[in-house]
Amino acid sequence: MTAMKTIEENLKKEARRLLESGEVAVVIAYGRGFDENHPMPCAITKAEETEGLVFNEYCTFNLARYLPKYPPKTRIAVALKAADSRAVVQLIQEEKVRREDLVLLGIPVTGMKDQKTGETIDNRTTCNMANPVLFDVLLGDEIHGFKGGSPYDVLEKLESMSEDERWAFWEKEFEKCIRCFACRKACPMCYCDPCFMDASRPRWADKSPTPDGHLMYHLTRFYHLAGRCVDCGECSRACPVDIPLYLFHKKVAKECEAMFKQSAGMRIEDKPAMVNYGNQDSDEMLR
């Protein structure tokens, strides 16, 4: 049995046990889409529905996205890969979900595939981790000796450019935007209601897709995710016009790590960097 199949079997077994014992009210995991290569996120509430759960290399979605939608005290079990578990840690830090409401089903996995292209996801577009940072039950064998390298190597090319070249790059990328908000919808940390883009007073950007509106939307979203982005890469995969949003998110995360000595979603005791300050902060960061 392959590692993926083992995880699927364990997922079904664990989901059944949790629902039958009444330990959780809902299990959020992956279900079958229109074919094997297009699984979808699904939430089940009955033990007999567990047979419909699947797990394969196309199950890329970050399921932490759905957690803040449930009212507090709903007992939820959720299947999490490495980056997804970081998102849960971050949500717990931000008091959007409560640790005691959650049963975390950790999935150690590498080599996931993109649903759009069918190719293995370039791990330079993600946080490049194999094991979840926080879990209650591990559904597969922990992966040892996985060497991902620094997740920030991919930035070198852009960092070495001059400002004008970088602007030319981003101007071209943002121009493709159709303002479908798929990045916002896919992001586990984008839970604001209403989002600043939907607010009409002040109206930060035109409702219609205009280049200046794209710039305002993307730059402000990068700022809003500063110190919070867990680098799951879902925004870039969700993007229908393939804007490499992960590059910008990685850059902001890298700078935040350098300045605030803290990575998003790694430790449950941390306070989110942007609603905190430290004694070691200096004016150097403003230079």
Partner: protein, 139 residues
């Protein structure tokens, strides 16, 4: 004709704005390029203000606040420092020249420092020329 930059100044009510007032009442000379907006605290500044200012054609943005530790509200400028630092990194990575954005801590008694910062910054921005990066192109 010489290029006169338009600079948005955002000053905190308790320190920098009062410092600017002091620079005026002591009749210090400094360039008139800064249009100052008063906010109650530097942490009130939404980074979108800065992006918006550049989009609307500001050639530079100068933010002034109390010295760290001297905030009227205790810790406001300590948060602001982190926020504005990240803002600067974002502007830089998007392709804006970071020299167009400056944060200074100027207390209410530092009228001379205010005049000096404004003079320096205006000179810097003048040397860079008009800002066209984020400016909305109207056809």
């Amino acid at each position: 004709m010489d290029f006169e930059p338009k600079i948005l100044g955002i000053a905190c009510n308790w320190c920098t704005y009062t410092g600017a007032d002091l620079a005026g009442t002591t009749r210090l000379k400094y360039p008139q390029n800064v249009r100052t907006v008063r906010v109650m605290c530097s942490s009130r500044i939404n980074p979108s203000f800065i992006i918006r200012a550049f989009q609307l054609g500001a050639d530079g943005v100068l933010v002034g606040g109390c010295h760290p530790g001297d905030c009227h509200y205790g810790t406001g400028n300590l948060y602001a420092r982190r926020k504005l630092a990240v803002t600067k990194k974002i502007l830089e990575f998007a392709g804006m020249n970071p020299k167009r954005f400056r944060v200074e801590w100027i207390s209410a008694s530092e009228g001379a420092k205010y005049a000096q910062v404004v003079e320096e910054f205006t000179g810097d921005v003048k040397a860079l020329g008009p800002q066209t990066t984020f400016k909305i192109k109207k056809d």
